[in-house]
Structures are given as structure tokens and as C-alpha cells.
Amino acid sequence: MSLKKFSELFIDLDSCNSTNKKIGILQNYFSSNEALENSWTIYLLTGKKNKRFVSGRSLKTLFSEIYEYPLWLIDSCYLKVGDSAEVISLLLRNMITGKNIKYQDVSLDELLNKSFPELSILKEDYKKLRVKEIWENNPIENLLVINKILTGTFRVGVSIGLITKSIAKLINLDEAIISHRLMGDFIPSEESYKLLIDKKINPSELNYKPYPFLLANTFEKKIIDKSINDFQFEWKWDGIRIQLIKRLGKVSIWTRGQDLVNKSFPELVEKISSIKDDFVIDGELLVWDFKQSLPLNFSLLQKRINRKAPSRSIQKSLPIIFIAYDLLEINGEDQRDSNLEIRRNSLEKHLYNWLNESKEELSNIFKISDLIYPKNWEEVETFKNNSRDKGTEGLVIKNKKSIYTPGRKKGLWWKYKVDPMQLDAVLIYAKGGSGIRAGLYTDYSFALWKDGELIKFASAYSGLNNSEIKELDRWIRQNTIDRFGPVRSVRPEMVFEISFENIQISKRHKSGIAVRFPRITKWRKDKLIKDADTLENAQKLMLNK
């Protein structure tokens, strides 16, 4: 039972690059620790929804005020380190060495259930005293972990998958069960950990939990050697993947990121509740343009997710639709071991009944994913290339014989995305990265020509390899024209090929356009800036879409 032990675990995991070794480390830790502490450890390491007790900014401010330390100096350090929690733990070594304190170890439960939650109700002055006390009453080795828990930023390269594997090994139970048990909300407690490692499987224990999602692999050329009739073809929608669950009459909507989003989509909950059967359906949620029968921009969907309890008028102006892909459970019976053909038939049959029986206008919100029937692999290509006309981003190809298993197993489903749109643009701004990219300029802004002027049109962070990142970082430092805080404007000299999935009119941007998922695909050292694309070219892409 202790923070010390957890801190050591953190250091061990952090200084090890082998997955197997990490699983071994976790197994040892779990088997030699108390249930309650283990449950908190899982909560912290899987860290999607860790509570933030203090923001990174306030952590820096607290340090600055407690020790009368210049905030600008903390910010300069941050540029090098890229993590507020780590900066403060490094700086604290200058403040609290040489004191002889007998440290008392605390449990994670005490910290996370008592000490830290209490902080938020304290007045500013007391809060400072309390944080100072926490810092100064703990050994230096534990400070990074403490600050990371405080700021709710626990990412250490330990995925849910790794936790799943180590627990499964620990109790010698199938990974799928553990992964299912870990779905949804994991509320730390002695019971939740004991349930996790229970060798007996209680069918009702998983009632409110979504199944682990089956994920598609990237298209592999080799599958075209097989008969086209072995596969089912559907459009790949750009919405959010969800599991729509109705069990014991209760509806829950889970995203792939394992957020429960019932509150954001009350109209869906309401209409689904009227269906007489219980079920679990895998599908996609989109904001829909009913006139054109096309999905609306992903950003509008984001708007809907972020709005808890949306008003009637928002529900009307941003109407949603659920597109069903797959039937995973019907009236309490798990369907995942049946093959896709059977599941699809069953889905069609049930949906037909529901639509017929419903008094509500269920068809306005609940659709089945239309199948596409290419006659041969050449036609698959044509369908894929035309997928933008449908407002989709490509095809999903599914093996008709596939069962529904967790994760990205080979040979089951493939995504076949349409080629991205591309423009050559000029690098104009660079910003320091954070996290593992701290101290390097890795966040770039790119511009296109308009009437002899360069207009910013997109920002991108990914696409360059490590040596290119280093090279570009050096170039940026040597070619800075101006600096605004962490941002440098650079000499317009470098041209990059930027790829993106979609392009749309946007009033928020000076360029008048917004692109979806921009990334760098090539450093065009062969091009001069006069060869870069114009904003007009971008608008043409939009029209040809």
C-alpha cells in the first residue's frame, strides 16, 4: 500500500521499452499489492478520465507564489521539458534538498480519495499551504508522480491493452473477459478490483458495459486474390463509432473512446427506448443533412458531443443519425461468435420489425449501413474513388465469415480510404512541441498564395520522421524572423506537401477554408515557394469534391 511503490512502478515502466517486460513488471506489482491500491493503479495508468485536481497552469502559479519564483523562468523551463508536472518536480529539487524529514508513506487511496479532493474546496491561501506541505513531506523521487496525479496527466506508455494482458496472465483468464470488464467506467474500489480478477464469470456483471470494439486494419493488397464474394462492402463514415446498448430496458450510448454520451443525444435515447427488444448494436453516429442525404461536417458532430443536454432547437438544427453496422447481442444473447453474414441477416430482420412497429419516427434517426455490391476488385477501386460524393471517406471491407473479436485482429475487417487531397504549402510559423517533443519546434503552420501574399491555411504536427524533425528544428532556429511567446515566424522558404481528408468553407479562418486531419506527407525540398499552391487551387478542390 503505497505511493512509494507506485512511484517505483512508474519509474520501472518508464525505463523499459519491451512490452513483455512491462507486462512482467505489472504482474509483479499487482500480485504483491492490495486490491484497493491496485484499483487506483489501474485507474491512473489507463488514465483516460483522470480527475484533474489542479491544472498545469495553476500548478506553475502555485509553485511561483509559494517560493516567490519568477513565472517566466518556469515557462522557459517548460519549453524544454514539455510537461508542467515534470517541470515543477525538477524545480522543487532546488527548494527542498538538505532537509532531514522522516517521510511517511501514504496510500494512493488516501491521496486520491481524501488529500487531493480536499484541495479544491480550500481557499487560495490554505491551498498553497497544503500543496507546499504535500511537496515538502514527500521524498523527491515521488514528486513527479504526485504532480502528475494532481494535474491528471498520467500517460506512461501503458495502454489498457497492457493492463488487460497482465491481469489476464495473472489470473490465467481469457483476455477478452478482462478487456470487457475494463470497458466503460472503472470506478476504483476494492470490489472493482476483486471483480476484475474474479475467476468466475457472472453473466450479469457485464450488463452495462459495451463490448470491446472490433477495429479495421488498413487495406492489404493481398486480399484481392480472394473472391469478391467472400466480402461485405460498406461505406466508411466519418462520424463517431458507438455501441448502442439497450439492456433490461435501459439505453446507454458508448463511444469507442469509452465515454458514455447519453446526455449529448437525448433524442436518440428517447426513440431507442421505444423498441421492444434488448440489444447491443455497433454503429456510427453522424450529424445528417436530411435534404441532401449526406453527413455534415465532423466539427458539427463535435459540437453536439460537447453539448450536454442540448436544447430542442439544437437537436433540430444539428440533427443526428445512427447508422447500424453490426448486431452484437439480442435479448441477452451474445451474437459475437456467429459469423458476419448471420449477424447481418439478423440485424436486417430486427431493424425491419422495429421500424414497422415503432410509433415514433424511428427511421429518421436509425438507419442500417447500406451494403455496396462491387462486381469485381476494379469496381471496388471505382467505389472507393467516388466515396467523397457520398460524403464518406472510403470503404470498409469485411470478411463475411468473420466473428466479432476485440481489437485489430488480422483478416477480419479492412478500411480502404480514398486518397487524400493534397496541396503544396509554405511553412510560415513554428511552435514548440509538448510532451515527448518538448524543446523541438514541431507544430507547424502552412500558407498558400493569394494575390502575392501568403495566407495561413492549415497547421500540422505529424508526418516528418525524427531526423527530418531535427533538421527542420535547426533550420527554424536559424531562420526565425520574429517571436511571439512560444511561436516563431520563419523565413518563407520551405515547401511541404500537405495531405488532408476533406476541405470545407470556414468563416472562422482567414483563408476561408478549413481542412480535416492535415498532415505533412513530403518535404518538397525540390520546390521553391513560388511553386506552392494558391488558395484558388484549394477552392477548386472544394468544388470538384
Binding site: S15, S76, K80, V81, L90, N94, G435, I436, N466
Partner: protein, 330 residues
């Protein structure tokens, strides 16, 4: 305040330069006369007409480049004159033979620290506090996030790392001159029980140190090892340039570590691709830089090497010293 052009030491495209003595300090291009602060190769340039350094630095340089050069040596503290400028070398605590260089002319003293550290290191002379009017300090680690652990702690960490991995070959990367010898010295004081193998570049430097009277524990020359399976459970020390797959493919079950001051930052540790980072440095950390400025009694300070923005601003706010910047002429 003086005009830049009237400074005794100025900054030129070849490096720091004392015009009156017509001598460059650690020049980066071939020049007529070069004062060399220490034997790391990024402070040495081929092709100068004349070199001047401490005796130890000269011995190490000649060993490294494998040929004779026109190099004159002076002991620490020993004052010599060039064109009437009094010059002397003083221990900087960076590596064996490393020195600060002091210039006196017309009642004015300038001190170039060169690379230095204030931590204890038994493989070289300890940093000497020299009073000066103008101080040119290195600032490689000029941010308060840098604070070195006791070298014994780092050595114990390295020991534990190797001792607890019987089934693996532990490969530690570090600079072959200075850092390697310091680590060997510190490790020999822990309960390290394994065999140590060193790359020939490190092995040679160990011998060089021994020749100069520094006690370094015996290691095996890696290149003479016939059977790689003997290396299981032992420690191999390699220069960082060899951290690539082609050089490491022979060591099947391995764990890698890097010993450097930069390893105290997690992002740099992760990016470096080594399994483990050991924070140990032969440079001054933030506190050591501030302490050195204070103890030198300098009224004016310049920073050289590294990012000095934060130091400049910090000292200006404290208003305790005049912070100057060289005019950088391309």
C-alpha cells in the same frame, strides 16, 4: 560601459579572440595561435600554427589525433606572457587537464571558464575559484531544471541496473574522454561485481589517464573479446556514436543506457531511444553557474555555449551583475 571593440576578449567567426595577444581560445577554424582549454575534439581544430595548453591536455590531444603538433604547455597557475598580456591556466574540473584561462592586462582581468563543473571528480583537479573583472562562462545547462545528483547516486543506479540484469548485456553509452573515466572511478566505489568491457577509444583514454597518474580500474578491451556470450550480465561502455543497430546487432539480449546531463529530462530520455537515462554531467548546472559568477567577484559576465536567454534575464532582474552579450558577427 566599454565599447564592444575595446574588450580584451571578443567574439569572431573563428571563436573567442584576444587581439592584443593575437590568440584564439578553442578556435573553430585554423588560426595562427590557439589556446586550448581541454582535449574534447569540439574544442580543437587541426591546422593551427601553434597550440598552447596544459601538459595533460597536450598529452591527451596527441594520443587522440595520433600525431605530433606544435604545442607548448604550461602548468596550472604558471603565468606566461604573449605580447605583454599575462595568461595562465587554472583547473576547471571538467576533465583531466581542462582549464579556465585567465588574461590580465592593464589592471584588468578576464577569465574564460571553458567547460567546467563544481562537483567532485577524482579523475581531475577540482575547479579553482579565480577572481576576475570580466567572466566568460559556459552555459550549456543554463536552466534551473538542471540540478545534478551526487555522482555516487548515479553510479549506484548504474550498478543496480547492471547487477539486476543477469540475463542481459548492459550497454552504457557515454563520451569516451572524461565521462567514461569518471563513471569507472565512481562505479569502482560501489558494490559493482560484474566484468567491464570498454570500446578501444575508451580503453585508450583509460591508459592515457593512468599514464598521467590517475587511478582507473582495469577493464577488458571489447575488441579482444572473442565470444559475445561471455558478455551476458556484464557492463559494456561504448561511445554514443555506436548507438546504431549495425553496431549492436551482435548483442542479442541487451539493455541500453546513456549517461548525460540531458537525461534528466524525460522527453529527451524518451526521444533518445535508450532504455534508461543516467543523469550525470561534467558541466556546471544552474546553481553552479550562479555560484561561480558570485565567487569570481566579476562585475561583468558573458555567456558562451548553450542557451543563455534565461540566465541573462534572471541576472538582469536580480540586478546584481552586469550581463553583457557579444556582438555576433557572421
Amino acid at each position: 560601459m566599454k565599447e564592444d571593440s575595446s574588450y580584451l576578449i571578443k567574439y569572431t567567426s573563428s571563436g573567442l579572440y584576444c587581439e592584443l595577444a593575437d590568440a584564439w581560445i578553442d578556435p573553430i577554424k585554423p588560426v595562427k595561435r590557439a589556446l586550448i582549454s581541454h582535449a574534447h575534439m569540439d574544442h580543437f581544430t587541426f591546422g593551427c600554427d601553434e597550440y598552447i595548453s596544459t601538459y595533460e591536455t597536450a598529452v591527451i590531444i596527441k594520443e587522440r589525433i595520433g600525431k605530433e603538433i606544435n604545442i607548448k604547455t604550461y602548468d596550472y597557475e604558471k603565468e606566461f606572457k604573449i605580447n605583454g598580456i599575462k595568461i595562465s591556466f587554472h583547473p576547471s574540473g571538467h576533465i583531466l587537464g581542462s582549464s579556465q584561462i585567465k588574461f590580465s592586462f592593464a589592471e584588468e582581468i578576464w577569465l574564460i571558464t571553458g567547460d567546467y563543473k563544481r562537483q567532485k571528480d577524482e579523475t581531475c583537479k577540482e575547479y579553482e575559484i579565480v577572481k576576475t573583472d570580466y567572466l566568460i562562462s559556459e552555459s550549456t545547462f543554463g536552466l534551473p531544471i538542471f540540478k545534478w545528483d551526487e555522482p555516487q547516486k548515479t553510479a549506484t543506479d548504474i550498478s543496480k541496473w547492471v547487477n539486476s540484469s543477469q540475463e542481459k548485456t548492459s550497454i552504457l553509452f557515454c563520451y569516451s574522454l572524461g565521462k567514461a573515466q569518471r563513471i569507472l572511478n565512481e562505479i569502482s566505489k560501489t558494490n559493482f561485481i560484474k566484468n567491464i568491457y570498454t570500446h578501444s577509444s575508451i580503453y585508450r583514454m583509460n591508459n592515457c589517464y593512468k599514464k598521467l597518474g590517475i587511478d582507473i580500474i582495469e577493464t577488458n578491451k571489447l575488441e579482444q573479446t572473442k565470444n559475445n556470450s561471455d558478455l551476458k550480465g556484464s557492463l559494456i561502455i561504448l561511445p554514443p556514436a555506436l548507438n546504431k543497430n549495425s553496431s549492436l546487432k551482435n548483442f542479442k539480449d541487451r539493455q541500453t543506457g546513456f549517461a548525460s546531463g540531458w537525461m534528466s529530462i524525460r522527453a529527451l530520455r524518451k526521444r533518445s531511444g535508450y532504455d534508461k537515462g543516467f543523469s550525470i554531467s561534467d558541466h556546471a548546472d544552474w546553481i553552479a553557474i550562479l555560484r561561480t559568477i558570485k565567487e569570481s567577484k566579476a562585475k561583468n559576465v558573458f555567456f558562451h555555449h548553450g542557451d543563455s536567454e534565461a540566465l541573462n534575464k534572471y541576472l538582469k532582474e536580480k540586478n546584481s551583475i552586469n550581463v553583457l552579450q557579444f556582438e555576433y558577427k557572421k
